[in-house]
């Protein structure tokens, strides 16, 4: 089966409140919804109505991991650079300043899944280092669920 439309899958990580302006461990919980909203606002602001409209068709935030702050965004092959620039120019989600950083860019969902699994695992190791003793079984379970979610992602 030949895929009619080509996509690009971006694996990004989010740095929440890099300056430490807000208090708290996790100033905001990122979800597919608020990430999607922030990016769409950025596209609208920078590329206007037509820009948003042409990228809207393939644009989707496929996966978000609130623990490791990893997300997977899909965009069409023609518009992905615009979408990527818009994502880079996102300054905040809600009232929390953020920085998006691209980790991997791939053309197929399969390659994306592999990269995302690797990134997620490595980032979780990093998270465990930072959190130290406060790691709870609940978080670990949540993490496992997220990893399973990656494995069943579809284009």
């Amino acid at each position: 089966m030949v895929v009619g439309f080509k996509n690009r899958y971006l694996v990004l990580e989010v740095f929440l409140d890099p300056n430490g302006d807000l208090k708290g461990d996790d100033p905001i919980i990122i979800t597919q919804f608020n990430v999607s909203k922030a990016v769409k606002d950025s596209i609208l602001l920078n590329f206007g109505e037509c820009g948003l409209a042409s990228s809207l068709r393939s644009f989707q935030v496929k996966y978000v991991n609130p623990i490791t702050k990893l997300c997977i965004v899909r965009a069409s092959r023609e518009e992905y650079q615009k979408v990527w620039s818009a994502i880079t120019m996102v300054r905040s989600i809600g009232n929390c300043p953020v920085i998006f950083n691209l980790l991997d860019l791939s053309g197929s969902i399969k390659a994306c899944k592999n990269a995302a699994l690797k990134c997620d695992e490595l980032k979780f190791e990093q998270y465990k280092l930072v959190v130290g003793a406060r790691l709870s079984a609940d978080i670990t379970q949540q993490m496992q669920n997220c990893l399973d979610k990656i494995k069943v992602l579809e284009h």
Binding site: N19, W84, T88, P97, L102, D104, L122, Q126, V130
Partner: protein, 675 residues
């Protein structure tokens, strides 16, 4: 290839908010490191006339200050570097930069290379505030970077001939991307202004930097490259603008700073250090890191171990210290310790094996770091005339060995060891020669050689042999030292090098079938080839020379002794499958290397103690002498020696050749079993 952000604003702050300022800067630097940048430059902006107060007073951040704020920094940085494909071991550089806002011609006059204040900064940039200054900057001023503030309406017009003139001179244009991120209005202005520059330069001589006032404004290198596509820059040029262009810019400006007329390197020698005239200059070259920022270099491994990077080695410009890198390398290969304790033998080969493997890892890592072509060329030029072709090949290897820091650390270790053991070390190059012979492959890394040297010294100590230092050098391939060698040969009765052969001779072994005899013979042929002369070893006669029967002492009188067939057999037993390659190696590589290659190879596979040697030899003799095919083998070996001697036209070789001819004859006659 590393990523650089050459504009991290360093604001002049009053004393009151110094801590806040420092905290902000530290956070920025941490974020830059985490995002994968390998070098940053602190940018100080001044306006008007320069005074003596404007000398560089920017303090470079140390590891401890960074770690205080982010203890898990090293793992995070390593993680991101892996994602980006940046080698973990490459140091994080900190440079200093000055941006001068110039309004008039007279102020512009101060911007020349003779200005002492400018010399205190690594990079110099000019920001023109009107048209005449801009034209002057493009055509005449000796600066590294032309910085233009695109966020407001430009006070001058960009003209194509000016831009072209600047590019021809090697001046870089800078575009700061934080304007794109911070504010919507500035975004508009900035894109319309900068697009013209991008169109005209096509990314050539263009660098992208952040000018980030707070940590919220900094972005990762790939993201920045993508942002610049909004300005019309193509993907490859964009990536180059944030990596390759920055690197050449930094290398160029550092070279201007450190070199006199771009050819002679000016270094600071500490008052206490003496110029070691015996030490060849090539050693210095190999330690040179063209874009080192001196104390600013931060190493990931050091962060991990949370101690600051020490660079006591070089008395000159502080280069990278890779001791920690080497230490942190997993020790692949075999356990040398047991071998050492049992045999008291030279541990070099196994150690070499270990360090060789470790070195390969380091090299692989460093090779990925992006070559330093200018360094390579210079290394070739410097080293070739100094040394023989063999060493030339070594220099090739070492020049290919990008992380010069390895040498540095190795030589540190060597120096330290030397001090403690009070052994006069031969010159660096000769050391290198020595090591190389032990390093099995053609691929020898100086790191390996240095370590070998360490071990060698140890053995020297333990054996208590009166080894005249210069003799050790001689051994391999140094044709000029033949005489010394001959002299020492007679004088010295015990050399530690022979220990090599002893150990090697070990394994002799287990082969007592006639079947294996054949192989032995063949191997013998190969082995004897490899035996090449060079080994400046006086073998403990019984063993090895048992074969040759003929007065081993006669050959001793000659320069070279060749390793015994005992060794060869050992080789054989373990290297049967690799005979051909071994043979090739011997022919191709210098004869000096060949012998030890075989030795190393054998060592690599054996763990036998030297005590067995004696008992093994008789059996070996029996095997060998029984077979007539050894004649063919002998002929083959003679041919090889002949070829090698032709290649080198060395007296050494010729003598070996003669010795060798003498020795095999006894093989033809069955020797009585000494049992």
């Amino acid at each position: 290839m590393g990523f650089f952000d050459l504009n991290i604003p360093h604001l002049d702050s009053s004393l009151s908010d110094k801590t806040a300022f420092k905290a902000r800067r530290t956070k920025l630097v941490i974020k830059a490191m985490e995002l994968g940048y390998t070098g940053i430059a602190y940018n100080r902006t001044i306006k008007g006339v320069m005074s003596d107060n404007d000398r560089c007073a920017i303090s470079l951040l140390t590891l401890s200050s960074l770690l205080k704020l982010a203890p898990s920094l090293s793992s995070s940085v390593g993680l991101h570097r892996d994602f980006l494909g940046v080698p973990r071991a490459s140091p994080f550089r900190q440079y200093t930069r000055l941006t001068v806002c110039v309004e008039s011609q007279s102020q512009a006059q101060a911007l020349n290379s003779g200005n002492p204040i400018l010399k205190t900064y690594d990079l110099v940039a000019v920001r023109a505030l009107n048209q005449t200054v801009f034209d002057q900057a493009c055509e005449k001023l000796e600066v590294d970077i032309i910085a233009i503030d695109f966020s407001e309406k430009l006070p001058f017009r960009l003209k194509l001939p000016m831009v072209k003139a600047a590019i021809a001179r090697g001046v870089y244009f800078e575009i700061t991307y934080s304007d794109l991120i911070s504010d919507v209005q500035t975004r508009r202005q900035m894109i319309s202004n900068a697009k013209l520059l991008v169109d005209w330069t096509q990314g050539k001589n263009l660098i992208l930097s952040s000018a980030a006032l707070s940590v919220n404004d900094i972005r990762g290198p790939n993201d920045v490259a993508n942002l610049s596509s909004l300005l019309g820059l193509s993907r490859e040029r964009a990536k180059a603008a944030i990596s390759k262009n920055c690197r050449t810019l930094v290398a160029k400006s550092l070279r201007k700073k450190q070199f006199f007329k771009e050819a002679i390197r000016v270094e600071v020698i500490s008052a206490g250090g003496q110029l070691d005239s015996t030490k060849s200059l090539s050693g210095d070259w190999l330690k040179w890191d063209p874009i080192s920022s001196g104390e600013g270099d931060l190493l990931l491994e050091d962060m991990a171990k949370s101690f600051s990077a020490s660079s006591e080695a070089s008395k000159t410009v502080k280069a990278i210290d890779f001791t920690s890198v080497i230490d942190s390398m997993p020790s692949l290969g075999f356990q040398v310790k047991a071998l050492i304790s049992q045999t008291e033998a030279v541990p070099q080969p196994p150690d070499v094996g270990k360090t060789l493997l470790a070195a390969t890892e380091v090299v692989e890592v460093s090779a990925a770091a992006g070559g330093q072509p200018e360094q390579l060329e210079r290394l070739d030029i410097v080293l070739r005339p100094d040394q023989t072709s063999f060493n030339g090949s070594l220099s090739h290897q070492s020049s290919g060995f990008v992380n010069t820091g390895n040498l540095n650390s190795a030589s540190d270790a060597k120096r330290a060891f030397t001090n403690s053991e009070e052994i006069r070390t031969p010159t660096t190059t000769s050391k290198v020669e020595e090591e190389t012979k032990s390093g099995s492959d053609v691929k020898l890394f100086c790191n390996v050689t240095e370590k070998y040297d360490l071990e060698l010294q140890k053995c020297v100590c333990s054996r208590e042999s009166h080894i005249v230092p210069e003799n050790e050098d001689v051994t391999f391939g140094a044709s000029t030292r033949d005489l010394e060698l001959a002299a020492s040969c007679d004088a010295v009765s015990k050399r530690d090098l022979p220990m090599l052969s002893e150990d090697v001779g070990l394994p002799v072994p287990m082969n007592e079938d006639s079947k294996s005899t054949n192989k032995f013979d063949v191997v013998l042929g190969f082995a004897t080839d490899g035996v090449s002369m060079e080994v400046d070893t006086q073998n403990q006669d019984d063993r090895s020379f048992a074969f040759s029967g003929a007065a081993p002492h006669e050959p001793f009188a000659e320069r070279e002794q060749f390793q015994e067939p005992g060794m060869d057999v050992a080789l054989l037993s373990d290297r049967l499958p690799t005979q051909e390659s071994y043979f090739d190696q011997m022919i191709i590589s210098d004869s000096s290397a060949a012998n030890h290659e075989s030795v190393v190879g054998a060592m690599d596979k054996q763990r036998h103690s030297e005590a067995d040697t004696e008992s093994h030899n008789p059996t070996l003799v029996q095997c060998i002498s029984g077979n007539t095919s050894c004649l063919c083998v002998v002929i083959l070996s003679i041919a090889t020696i002949f070829i090698l001697s032709l290649l080198h036209s060395d007296i050494v070789l010729h003598c070996c050749f003669i010795c060798f001819c003498c020795s095999p004859f006894p093989l033809l006659f069955p020797l009585p079993l000494p049992s």
